[in-house]
Symmetry: C2
Subunit: 240 residues, 2 copies
């Protein structure tokens, strides 16, 4: 199984170059990528943005919304790429289009899967560690389960400040670490808090962290900060 | 119907004093407040924090978890106070304890309702504008519907910066305004973006904004910034 998960925030030239480099090495020479734009409202505009920002990595992109039969499109795709946006909308549409089983089957058969942000969330067992607003109600929070652990994309810690004009004001809403602690009050899977610009590559039974540090959250244990290049496999075994 | 909704972030002495002043004028002389701590994991610790921070406003507080029969406790409470934490956990527990109808009935009969943060979210028609992580799955996102509009508590806009040591780094995750725009791509109710420390008082068929500015989001219209003291009623009529 070959799965690559990106945090999101690929918005600086350095980060885009890093993502492109990773995509080239992950997908290699492949005829095209089937792109799933369901996390945003305007699918065609999403494809345009992908090309404009260079996030296609030079690959030919086929939007799944352009296919007559999305399930058949998944069954024949040489590679799959699920983009970011709203995770609830993405998962609801995957359920509606009955795509979860076909995607899962194909990935287990070897089709490489790239998910960024919301596309990373839906690769986890559930979307219970998304940052997104529940603007719609998928039939379940259960997702693809390509990874055996949870990821929190766009992860950060430290003090949050808001700039209003020249002023910096503190924000008191729950911190991300508090939110992830709440997850572990009701759930047991380990979580990778993946900083923006970071990537996880799950290949050859190994989970490799690339590009940025990450913070690991495991129930009942202190959190652990790890550096890019770390093999996370030993840290991410399912908990109790 | 008398409903008071607070954004949260009542963490500075000035904000606590403002909330206490509002609570005193809202509840008046009342025998006790029935407090609902379901949004956090540790109910007793929540009561302690409430007293320590002065968020009891000097009232006698009865925790609903201390009552033998939570439904009966709601039916006889002179006033209800639902605190913040995780909105999904709060709503799931309200469903599990079959409290939604009893609370709704009592508020319609005149029992004053105070909801802060998650307690504000569940007073809306749905929890689709919460900022919280979906750590559990309530049977539905439909909530009390005491307000006819949505509130986004802990609202902010402007650039988000993270302080790591001495460094300030920009955050690229979806802005709050982008998330609320996504809500309107799939839903039509107007939303009040309520800054931390802000309060809405819904009384005498009037919706009064107090303490902070707010930003109003209405589908298909530009957003509108309003000042404290504004009667929001004309702006919050249900949309299409």
């Amino acid at each position: 199984m070959r799965v690559m998960l990106g945090s999101g925030g690929f918005r600086t030239p350095e980060r885009v170059a890093f993502l492109v480099e990773q995509m080239r090495s992950f997908f290699g020479s492949i005829e095209y990528l089937l792109f799933v734009p369901y996390a945003l409202a305007d699918y065609d505009a999403y494809l345009d943005v992908l090309h404009q920002r260079g996030l296609d990595a030079g690959y030919r992109i086929l939007g799944i919304h352009q296919a007559d039969d999305p399930v058949a499109a998944v069954r024949t795709a040489p590679g799959l790429y699920i983009g970011g946006g709203n995770t609830f909308r993405l998962l609801a549409t995957l359920y509606q289009q009955q795509l979860l089983d076909p995607i899962r089957d194909r990935v287990h058969q070897g089709m490489p899967y790239l998910g960024i942000s919301a596309g990373c969330n839906v690769a986890c067992p559930t979307i219970r560690t998304t940052n997104d607003m529940p603007i719609t109600s998928p039939p379940s929070l259960d997702a693809l389960g390509l990874a055996s652990f949870q990821v929190n994309p766009h992860y950060y810690h430290g003090e949050t400040l808001l700039r209003r004009g020249e002023e910096l004001i503190p924000h008191f809403g729950e911190t991300r670490d508090e939110r992830l602690k709440e997850y572990h009050e009701m759930n047991s899977l380990p979580i990778v808090g993946l900083w923006e610009g970071g990537i996880l590559r799950i290949e050859n039974n190994q989970i490799l962290l690339l590009g940025t540090p990450a913070r690991l959250f495991r129930r009942g244990q202190p959190c652990l900060d790890v550096e890019p290049g770390t093999d996370l496999t030993p840290y991410l075994q399912p908990g109790d």
